[in-house]
C-alpha cells in the first residue's frame, strides 16, 4: 500500500442502490469512515454479509467479500477467523438474520470469537416485503402483523452481553459518532456487536408513520439503552485455542501400535466369538485385547460392538472374528463360541440361542446356568475369584476361554493387555488373567 487509504468504498460500484432514505447507506458510510480511521490492509479485511438488503453491501467495498446464507453469516466469520486470526472480519447482518441465526450470535459471543457484527436493525424484513422480524416492536404494523405485532422484541445487545460478548453497544444510524463506535468495535480483541437502529423507508416507515424521532422514542419506550452496553476483557477464542493447544503441537499424531506376529495361532480357519456381557464389565476392552492378541499371533480380526446409548447401563456385546485370512463379511449369524458374562448380555443374545446347534459352544458364567439352547454349554468359571472384579470380568472370561480352547496363546493376550495406554488398567487386567488361568 502507498500511503493512507482515503476510502474503502469501491468507486466503480457506487452509488448505493438502496431505497431513498434507507438507513443502510448511512451505516455503510460510517463503516467506511471507521476503516479509514483504522487503515487495515484491504487484503486482510473480509466483509461477511447475511441475508436481506444488507446482503447487497459487500459489493461496495474494496475488501474481501463473503455473502452466504440467511442467518449463517456468523458461522463463516467464525471459520475465517479461526483459520486466519490476523483477518479483520466484519459481519453485516439485519434484524432478519439475527432472528433466524440468533443462536449463532449467542455461541459466537460465548466463544468470544474475534469478529465484529454490525446489525442493520430496521425492525422488519425489508427485502421480502416488510414482514415482522425478531426486533419488531410490540403493536407495530407489518405485512405479517396487520393488526399489530404480538411478540416481544429480542434485545440483541443484552443477548450477546449476557452470553459473554467482549463488547456490545446500541445506537442509531443517525448517531454522528457512529463511525468512531464502529472503529472501537473493530478494535476489540473479541466478539463485538453494534445494534444499529435505522429506518426502512419502503415498509416500516409508511406502515407505522415512523420517523427518526419516533425511532428514538421507541428505544426509550422499550427501555433499550443506547451507548456501550458491555465492554469486558476476555481472551479471544482463536488465540485461546492456539495457546491452549500449543502443548500438543509437534507430537506425532495417532498412537500407532505396530504389532509383530510372534505367537503361534491355535486356529487355521475362521473362528467367530461373541462376548455378551453388561456395561461396566469392559466387554469392548476384552474384545480389543482379543483383536490385538490375534494380530500378535499373525491373524486377522474384526470387532463389532453393540451397546445402548446409555453406556453405563444395559448390555454390551462384542462380535469378534479371528481368521488367518482378511475378514470380509463381519456378521456372525451363528457364532462358534458365545461367551455369556451377565444377565444383560444373555437377554441381548436370547433371540439367537434358539437357532444354535452343537456347532456352537456357549461359555456361560455359572450363575446364569442352565442356558436354554441346543448348543453345547460349558461353564465359564470366572465369577467370585480373588483378583477378578466386575470391571475385569470380561477379560478374565476371555483368558479362561483361550486357555480352554487354545485358539490363541495366553502370552499373546498378556502382551495385548500390556499395550494398554494406562499402566493401571493393564495391571488390573493382568491380575484378573492370572487369577483365572491358574498354574
Amino acid at each position: 500500500m502507498n500511503g493512507a487509504l482515503r476510502s474503502y468504498l469501491d468507486e466503480g460500484s457506487l452509488p448505493f442502490h438502496f431505497c431513498p432514505g434507507c438507513g443502510h447507506r448511512l451505516v455503510l458510510e460510517r463503516l467506511d469512515e471507521a476503516l479509514v480511521m483504522l487503515q487495515p490492509d484491504p487484503h486482510d479485511v473480509v466483509i461477511v454479509t447475511d441475508i436481506g438488503c444488507v446482503g447487497l453491501s459487500d459489493r461496495y467495498f474494496i475488501t474481501n467479500a463473503f455473502h452466504g446464507l440467511h442467518g449463517r453469516a456468523v458461522t463463516y466469520a467464525t471459520g475465517l477467523k479461526l483459520a486466519n486470526p490476523k483477518l479483520v472480519v466484519i459481519v453485516l447482518m439485519g434484524d432478519g438474520g439475527c432472528g433466524i441465526g440468533a443462536h449463532h450470535l449467542v455461541h459466537a459471543a460465548r466463544r468470544n470469537i474475534g469478529v465484529t457484527v454490525l446489525v442493520f436493525n430496521n425492525l422488519n424484513f425489508g427485502m421480502t416485503g416488510g414482514e415482522h422480524s425478531a426486533t419488531t416492536p410490540p403493536g407495530a404494523v407489518t405485512s405479517t402483523t396487520s393488526l399489530g405485532n404480538l411478540e416481544a422484541p429480542m434485545d440483541i445487545c443484552a443477548t450477546v452481553a449476557v452470553n459473554g460478548a467482549a463488547f456490545a453497544a446500541r445506537t442509531t444510524a443517525f448517531d454522528p459518532a457512529l463511525g468512531h463506535l464502529i472503529a472501537q468495535a473493530i478494535q476489540v480483541d473479541g466478539f463485538s456487536l453494534l445494534d444499529i437502529w435505522e429506518l426502512c423507508t419502503a415498509y416500516y416507515v409508511p406502515h407505522n408513520r415512523f420517523t427518526r424521532a419516533r425511532l428514538e422514542q421507541t428505544l426509550r419506550d422499550l427501555n433499550l439503552p443506547t451507548g456501550v452496553i458491555v465492554h469486558r476483557k476476555r481472551e479471544e477464542y482463536a488465540k485461546a485455542y492456539r495457546a491452549t493447544h500449543r502443548v500438543l503441537l509437534g507430537q506425532e499424531p495417532f498412537q500407532r501400535l505396530r504389532l509383530e506376529a510372534r505367537y503361534p495361532p491355535g486356529l487355521r480357519t475362521r473362528v467367530s466369538v461373541i462376548l455378551a456381557g453388561a456395561a461396566g464389565q469392559k466387554v469392548r476392552t476384552a474384545g480389543r485385547f482379543l483383536s490385538l492378541a490375534a494380530a500378535l499371533s499373525g491373524l486377522y480380526a474384526t470387532q463389532r460392538d453393540d451397546y445402548p446409548v446409555t453406556v453405563m447401563a444395559g448390555h454390551s456385546v462384542s462380535e469378534i472374528i479371528l481368521s488367518p485370512e482378511p475378514v470380509l463379511y463381519t456378521g456372525i449369524p451363528k457364532p462358534d463360541h458365545l461367551l455369556i458374562l451377565a444377565e444383560e448380555g444373555l437377554r441381548q443374545v436370547r433371540g439367537r440361542l434358539a437357532g444354535l446347534d452343537e456347532k456352537t459352544t456357549v461359555h456361560a458364567v455359572p450363575s446364569l446356568l442352565p442356558i436354554p439352547t441346543s448348543a453345547r454349554v460349558v461353564p465359564l468359571d470366572v465369577e467370585g475369584r480373588r483378583g477378578v472384579a466386575r470391571k475385569t470380568l470380561a477379560v478374565a472370561g476371555v483368558a479362561r476361554f483361550l486357555q480352554s480352547t487354545g485358539l490363541l496363546p495366553l502370552d499373546a493376550l498378556r502382551e495385548a493387555i500390556q499395550l494398554s495406554q494406562s499402566a493401571e488398567i493393564a495391571r488390573e487386567h493382568l491380575a484378573a488373567v492370572e487369577a483365572v488361568v491358574g498354574h
Binding site: 484491504p42 487484503h43 473480509v46 461477511v48 459487500d58 459489493r59 475488501t63 474481501n64 467479500a65 463473503f66 455473502h67 452466504g68 446464507l69 449463517r72 458461522t75 463463516y76 466469520a77 467464525t78 471459520g79 475465517l80 477467523k81 479461526l82 483459520a83 486466519n84 490476523k86 483477518l87 443462536h103 449463532h104 449467542v106 455461541h107 485455542y241 500438543l248 503441537l249 507430537q251 506425532e252 499424531p253 495417532f254 500407532r256 505396530r258 504389532l259 509383530e260 506376529a261 483383536s291 490375534a294 494380530a295 491373524l299 486377522y300 480380526a301 474384526t302 470387532q303 463389532r304 460392538d305 451397546y307 446409548v309 475378514v327 470380509l328 463379511y329 463381519t330 456378521g331 449369524p333
Partner: protein
Amino acid sequence: MREVVDGAEAIARGAIAAGCTFFAGYPISPATSILLYMIQELPKVGGIAIQAEDEISAMGFCIGAALAGAKVMTATSGPGISLYSEHVGLAIMGEVPMVIVDCQRLGPATGGATTVAQGDVQFVRWGTSGGYPIIALCPTSVTECFSLTMEAFNLAERFRVPVFLLTDKEVVATSEVVEDAVFHPIPVVPRRYAPPRDPFIPYHVKDLADVPLMAAVGGPHIVRFTSSTHDERGYLTKDPEKVDRLNRHLAAKIEALADDIGWVDADLEPGATALIVSYGVTARSAREAVKLARGEGVKVSLAIVKTLWPVPVRALRTAFQGIQRVVVAELNLGLYRREIERLAGGCDIVGVHRVDGELLTPQEILEVGGIM
C-alpha cells in the same frame, strides 16, 4: 507389522495425511468418534478442530476456513446433512473444496442411531436445491477409509466441490486388523492458487469444464465469494448469459471427467452371466458371496462401486457385458438400483435389501439374488 484400527481412526488418519488443517463437527452417532479423533489429533499438526453449536455451524465454519486457505472436513450422519442441506448448496455454488463424511444410520429422522443402513445414497446426490452434482466415494473397509479419505481431499481440490465420503455405522465403528502398510499416503493434490502477481478473477474459467484457481482470503488477492448466482468476478448477477454459463459450469466440471474418477472395483469372471453390484459395507458380504459361489463352481462376477457419484457409467457398462442377471445388494429398498436399471437395460435386475439394521449375509445375496 499389523495394527488394530477402526474406520473412524482411518478416516482421521487419511484426512491429516491429505493435509486437512481444519475440522468442525457436532456430536452425532455414529460419526462422533471422527470428531473425537480430530479434536485429539489435529492440533498436533498445527490444525484446528472444533465442536460447533450444531451441524449447520460446523459446515459454516468449514466453508469459512476453506476460504481462508485451510483444507477442511466435517463428519456427521444423515440427520446432520438434512440440517445443513443448504450449506451443501452453498459449497457447490461457491466452489468450496471440502470433505463431508456421512456415517449413515438407519433412517428416516433420528432412526436408529447406532444401526447400520445405506439409505443416504441418493440423498447426498440430490439433497440440496438445484440438482447440481457432487462427488461421493464409498469405502468398504478400514483400508479404504484411509485411502478414499485421501482421494476425497484430492478430488475436492481438483474439482472445487464438496466430496462426500459415504460410510456407515459398520464401516466407521468396526475395528480391523490390517497391515500397517495400508496407511501409506498417496500423493497429495495441493490447492491450486492463482499466481500472486497476476490479476485475479475469482470465478474465471476459459472452458466450462475448467476449475477456477483459488486465492485465500488474507493472501495476495482480494477474494469475492457469494452464494448467489454470480459473474466470474463474484458479483451477483441475473444476466441470463452469465447465469447460464455459471450453472452449466458447475455441472460440466464434474461430468467432463466422470469416467476418469468413476472407480469400480471389478472382479469379472469370464463366462459369468450373473453380476453382483454392491458398495460400502454390503460389498464385503458380496465379495464373500462370490467366493462361496465360485467355491461351488458357480460363475459370477462382482462390481463394487467406489465412486457412487458421479455414476461410473463406463466402468459399469464394461461390467455388464455378457451379463443376463444383475443383483444389486444394498441396505435400503433399492436406492442405487435405480442407477443400475438406467444403465443395464436388457438385463434381469434383482434387488437384495435389508432395512432392519442387520447386515446382508453372503447366503442371502446368493439366494435372494437367484445365483445359487
